[in-house]
Symmetry: D2
Subunit: 145 residues, 4 copies
């Protein structure tokens, strides 16, 4: 699907908001792609953010997937609005192995109030192989100021 | 509901596993209660773990809720097994305001392979008022070694 | 939790809307309780509504749970509004055995736009024993006319 | 993604099991495509299966999506196994308008015990236009006899 942004400054708006998410810099996440209806966020593996077997914690995977979904929705919202997560569901498909991780979020259905977004999270090995490790289905809400 | 643990050392098993979750100490989470079918985890508010409005990031709330659900399930699993998250769904009910947060996980339905767990996450104010800010419904799997 | 209805005619409003859900009468569902923030719906077992092993189909269980959640939310909405399902998640906990089934929905968090509702579905045996067979966590939206 | 079936008789196995789902014939659902990792199910609109505004009930949409997901998973399971729904999450994207509906389920991640499946449900108009009305993310379990 291809979408058109209502707000010509959507990319700046997303990048400014991302900067205010202190959780992103604390875990080391980086905003890659910001396009109408699509956002990608990368996260290098960090041994301080694991579950009990040394894989990245499902909650940390969720953190980048949620931010990617929120901002994918935000790219399609009018200027001056705010985005909040209503709910999300995550399936953990494989152990979160990888040197780094990328969450790729795409809007499924934009709406004036609610926007539904899907994100896939990939683990990327040293040799640059991608494996799908988790998938999120999320609902985001637009708050008008 | 009241459950009986199969593994008399369930609490030690949970605490040892929790110690290996580096994500827990990195975000400042602490294991409170470990009972058969029930686990509570606390997290103080930290300004480095927020979303764009200064509230605790939904992914960080999910991180403690997921760990609480996983270990609530783990308390009922036989000795020598491992627990992994299959999937979870989170509804964000209110902005994650609070001085600290507590995730309270209770097993809904234990099983030999799959265990379903519910967690409520509360924000707790300075004056010790509790408000439900999020709820999780999760599926955990038992891996036998 | 105890809630107060804004619309004094909430129960009539729910019952009228339930009457218009042809799916309810087609599967044989009946509206039991309608209170502020709470709705119960019953469904007798029918051999025409099963999955491959003769148990009630998960989709039919979902049908009564969704309607119960929608109307539990609806009891707290202002007069003249409409309710629609945004999304729901269902965990199937046990085979849907029983002579009849009851979906019990309770509002977790009411809101002006979105309301979050939880439903438990019980299978009830001939000897009147209740067993939890499924649980739903749902988001409902209020549309103002 | 392309998958290979372990059971050469997977299509017959699925069709036989579908025949035993009395809910399918009762609502008028028909099995269209059965391929390794993919199943499609069609359902004509029926005015006896609606919610309060005359659209197909979300639970009925879920019924065909759940069956499609279950059998998509089943195509990849070994001979003699059984499939059951563990859980699913459904987002309702648009009112379920259409002359008929098609649920298209594709396996995301097959596994020995658990298989994760995604289904999209389309409403199809008289003039054969397709609109995505709902999406499901589901977990299925393989039971070995």
């Amino acid at each position: 699907m291809s979408f058109t942004a209502k707000n010509p400054l959507f990319a700046i708006q997303v990048r400014n908001s991302f900067e205010r998410q202190t959780a992103m810099s604390s875990i080391g996440a980086e905003l890659l792609i910001v396009e109408p209806g699509k956002v990608e966020i990368a996260l290098p593996y960090r041994s301080e953010l694991t579950q009990q077997h040394g894989y990245l914690h499902a909650g940390i995977i969720t953190t980048i997937a949620d931010t990617a979904c929120g901002y994918a929705a935000y790219t399609l919202m009018p200027a001056g609005s705010e985005v909040l997560s209503v709910e999300f569901k995550v399936n953990l498909l494989r152990p979160a192995k990888g040197e780094r991780f990328v969450a790729v979020a795409n809007v499924l259905k934009p709406g004036r109030t609610l926007t539904v977004v899907r994100a896939d999270v990939f683990g990327i090995s040293e040799s640059d192989e991608r494996e799908l490790i988790a998938t999120m289905l999320a609902t985001m809400i637009c708050l008008q100021k």
